[in-house]
Symmetry: C2
DNA sequence: TCTATATTAAACCAATTAGTTATCAACTAT
DNA sequence: ATAGTTGATAACTAATTGGTTTAATATAGA
């Protein structure tokens, strides 16, 4: 699977987003991370493996703990992808909207330059 | 399913991202959209239903055609979500990296101020 | 060495997904 | 009316996902 698909599908799950939110507060063990959830530890462990595979989580090894930490770099690629569509929701960049804006500006401030 | 999960999972598929890319060039029919793909029309139709369900595609109705158009608004929410993690990949905001940058700057340009 | 703790792995299950083919529905045009 | 086009739906299959429970592994500490 390509990295963008891996990143987006890893993020497309509320549990996994929750795990990342916890990790945004700092390194944590699997047990720490699992504590807020009702599901089994093994289930959380699997979610972490998905995040790890997507490169969003890396893990260390101290004693019997395998501390997880956030690695947000893959998110950058995802954000860049979404950014490429920005003009489609920032309606003032659309053809029609630009035209309407122009007409509106002409009506309200005749002769004024576009910003 | 929450809208963020729906958006991200809809986007986590290269075929669906391809469909959106085509729609970024303008409205298109299902047949138009399916043409570049090897899969059946029915499969593309299903992908479009996923995109529609996520609010990324809306469709009209003219004659026997059901023209699709892009609606990127749900992407904004996804982008806002990713943006909230920006500080984690803009490494100059991390504690360790700030320190390393400072040390490096001191080594290479002793006495010089940080930019 | 024995036991407790932390985590993963294995085997299993139900639900979902991504695809297929075949059929149905809506509309056009002859 | 009938045939052709466009697209959706249905029924099916194989693979994946998200969860479970139970066992295995790794380490710490008595």
């Amino acid at each position: 699977m390509d990295t963008l698909s891996a990143t987006l599908s890893a993020l497309a799950d509320p549990t996994r987003r929750g795990l990342l939110a916890q990790l945004a507060l700092g390194e944590a063990t699997v047990g720490d991370l699992a504590e807020p959830y009702e599901m089994s530890l093994a289930a959380v462990s699997k979610h972490l493996k998905v995040l790890e595979h997507a490169g969003l989580v890396t893990r260390g090894r101290t004693a019997q703990y395998r501390p997880c930490r956030l690695d947000a770099k893959p998110m950058k690629e995802a954000l860049d992808y979404l950014s490429s569509y920005r003009r489609f929701w920032e309606e003032n960049f659309s053809r029609l909207d630009a035209l309407l804006e122009e007409m509106k500006a002409d009506t309200e401030n005749p002769g004024k330059d576009r910003t």
